[in-house]
Symmetry: C2
Subunit: 223 residues, 2 copies
Amino acid sequence: MTPMKEDYLKIIFELGGTSKMVSNKQISQSLDIAAGSVTEMVSKLVEDGLATHTPYAGISLTDEGIELAEQLVRKHRLWETFLVDKLDYKLSEVHEDAEQLEHVTSDKLTNSLSDFLGNPTHCPHGGVIPTADGVYQQYSHIMLSELEDGDVAVVDRLADNRDLLTYLDQIDFDLGDKIKVISHAPFEGPITVQLLSEKNGEEQREVSFKASHYVFVIPEADK
Amino acid sequence: MTPMKEDYLKIIFELGGTSKMVSNKQISQSLDIAAGSVTEMVSKLVEDGLATHTPYAGISLTDEGIELAEQLVRKHRLWETFLVDKLDYKLSEVHEDAEQLEHVTSDKLTNSLSDFLGNPTHCPHGGVIPTADGVYQQYSHIMLSELEDGDVAVVDRLADNRDLLTYLDQIDFDLGDKIKVISHAPFEGPITVQLLSEKNGEEQREVSFKASHYVFVIPEADK
DNA sequence: AATCATATTTAGGTTAACATAACATTTTTG
DNA sequence: CAAAAATGTTATGTTAACCTAAATATGATT
């Protein structure tokens, strides 16, 4: 394993590669790496038995790949918890450092850190922290962008990207908010949503088209 | 900067490249990298203005190189302190993890960590932790192997190498011990020293030839 | 001082991870 | 449904950091 392979694994995992197929383009854009380079690296992951690749169709993770990615997510989120809880980082500042730390974190260090933090179950972004033995509660891979006007949902998870988090922080849009989709502006314009929690009367928020692909939601059961 | 350049800087620093010239061979052996590769990398450090190189004579650090190396040492030692003080690592276990962590530690993280630890001044091995603004107390670069029979000295610093620390732990040879050199066995055999602290009556220790190159001492002023 | 051993540098080759550009396949659309 | 657009793959080139082996310099020994 190399840090780069780890980054690919993690991004495929986060894009939903545990259940669906992820496209080359999604990976290429998320990592900001040329499409050709992605194809190359994916074929190495396939050789390593960590991913499957059907040309022109997409990429998924094998069970082994999933297990590895989960442990990376575990390391990442433990570090985020450390940075916020112990070093007083702000939520929007944690990503870069945690991203680097996770690649150099031995299993012993991971477990010691977890103990030190009181074996937390959730990171500061609301994500579940997988346990050492790989038990992992599934969370949403449904993007806000997939909802239609009138749909109601709860914001379950935010992709861990500094720019995104800063943006959402600015527009005051939080994890756990219950929302109703009001309208989609044309030409990839923003999605207007209404905040449904008690205290926010009729407040609305405009979430950019791009950001809506990095906000994951749990839709309300069909009415 | 890359992690590898950082490793070179740090090793040159630790081998005394702040004041004397360090040989290609010393670097090559310490990092377990072929001599040719060392020449190549050193020439990059020279291009970067971090080191000076006189062919066939040796390598030293520039002021800028020293400053950078000090900050690496600072990061390394802060992590060691964290691992021992907060995560209950044993002294002989800290090196590997700290070595990896130091390369991915931003300045912000370094300072936050230092605050969290109470701005410690010394790492668990007895080394001084340089401050953020580069103030750094010099410590000994005199190796136990350089002493002659009859010399008296205090053990000031141990190179931070797992095998070495495990070995010294086994033979019960500690930081701070005041010693007198009794004899040098021929053919690179062990150096016999006598422990001079009150409670160790006439106790002696045999330190292997190789280990004696990684134990740094402050000799007693000439009598 | 000539020889030999050791240390260092130089030259040429390898690998991982990237890029660009040409080619191939899908998907969209008039 | 054919042409255009988008996406994906293959081929080729680059860079950083390593290696081995050959060439060169230094210093130690007779």
